[in-house]
Amino acid sequence: MNTTTSLIILALIISITLIILNNQLTMTKPNNDKLSPYECGFDPLKTMRLPFSIRFFLSSNSISTIWLSIALLLPLPWAIQLMTPMHTLTWTITILLLLTFGFIYEWTQGGLEWAE
């Protein structure tokens, strides 16, 4: 059992202990007003689920694509130690240029407009 695992388990135990402590130390008197969702005093008029705005989906697509390219760039600290640094530089520039061209395309096509 190494230190990493034990630290994560201990942090989990601390979090769960705090929540259980809160539940046990308090007396709960639930009534209808307390348990209803926050709506500035009114009863909820409609269902609570929002329609999902497409702009969030677009931005998450862009983020995914960029992170894939960054994942390709992650071995760079070891790549620059290779015996042929020109290969490394070529491939690094290729990956970054691909990323940049995709980004330029998205920018000009309006994918980043009020990119919420």
Partner: protein, 323 residues
């Protein structure tokens, strides 16, 4: 006995002071914000208000935790637990000057854990079954994941200078000169990205008081709210310590390691006080301005600087040693 020491006592000795530091950081925030607004912060509870965090902690843990009627109970309880778990675990590879676990991929671990924190925001917003919480959570998720992109690219650029994802190589690299002098544009963008990453003013749309009344944690009451709150402030302190380690690291003299710790904490506290200063000074960004800043301002510059960093060290044969 030694396994008990390393497995139980060392992590505890990390986590308990972090929680105490977070508690007093909330007091510092209220005092500094108060003095910047020409009033005093809390000064009633103890001498100079020093017992205020204790009083806040006792209040939060003796109030009734409310689990709303239509909320999804599993996710509702899991989200704050996950938040605090991650906020405490991420301190593991930080060298102060000797880390708890000297991970060879310490910075990668950091980025992975920060990305995982997004889940807790998403689950808490969704499980609250309230329109305000959901809207706050969606905006927070989009904001956090967007700013993590520049965090990752800036990290790669800096790691290229230092040679490894290990945090102690940053100590070695900065012994001649601090990295802030060579990469100050990246440091400025990193600092602002950490402001956005921790949902801190002026990027605090997710908890926008006047718009969303506390955003994704509107339905959270006492204990779970305290956990989310602790996690947020622990993330602030951790991000500032990362900024210090990456850009402003002090020289490490093995004769006096406590001097290293002193300077590290001093610089971390100065940066955290700047977080509070920024909170008192700037109005909140509009959401599309926030996204514009990242996608159209930060991302092109960071991509260009990443290319610059990688080509420059190969061109001038300035490769970092592989330790």
């Amino acid at each position: 006995m030694s396994s008990l020491l390393s497995n139980l006592l060392s992590p505890l000795m990390y986590m308990i002071p972090i929680l105490i530091a977070v508690a007093f950081f909330t007091l510092i925030e209220r005092k500094i914000l108060g003095y910047m607004q020409l009033r005093k912060g809390p000064n009633i509870v103890g001498p100079y208000g020093l017992l205020q965090p204790v009083a806040d902690g006792m209040k939060l843990f003796t109030k009734e935790p409310i689990y709303p009627m239509n909320s999804s109970p599993m996710l509702f309880i899991l989200a704050p637990t996950l938040a605090l778990l991650l906020a405490l675990s991420v301190w593991m590879p930080l060298p102060m000057p000797f880390p708890l676990a000297n991970l060879n991929l310490g910075f990668l671990f950091l980025i992975a854990i920060s990305s995982f924190t997004v889940y807790s925001i998403m689950w808490s917003g969704w499980a609250s079954n309230s329109k305000y919480a959901l809207m706050g959570a969606l905006r927070a998720v989009a904001q956090t994941t967007s700013y993590e992109v520049t965090l990752g690219i800036i990290l790669i650029s800096m790691v290229l200078f230092c040679g490894d994802f290990n945090m102690q190589t940053f100590m070695t690299t900065q012994e001649p000169m601090l990295l802030v002098f060579s990469s100050w544009p990246l440091m400025m963008m990193w600092y602002i990205s950490t402001l956005a990453e921790t949902n801190r003013s002026p990027f605090d749309l997710t908890e926008g008081e006047s718009e969303l009344v506390s955003g994704f944690n509107v339905e959270y009451a006492a204990g779970p709210f305290a956990l989310l709150f602790l996690a947020e402030y622990a993330n602030i302190l951790m991000m500032n310590m990362i900024t210090t380690i990456m850009f402003l690291n002090s020289p490490m003299t093995t004769n006096q390691p406590e001097l290293f710790t002193t300077f590290l904490i001093l610089k971390t506290m100065l940066l955290s006080a700047s977080f509070l200063w920024v909170r008192a000074s700037y109005p909140r960004f509009r959401y599309d301005q926030l996204m514009f800043l990242l996608w159209k301002n930060f991302l092109p510059i960071t991509l260009a600087l990443c290319l610059w960093h990688s080509s420059m060290i190969i061109t001038f044969a300035g490769l970092p040693p592989m330790l």
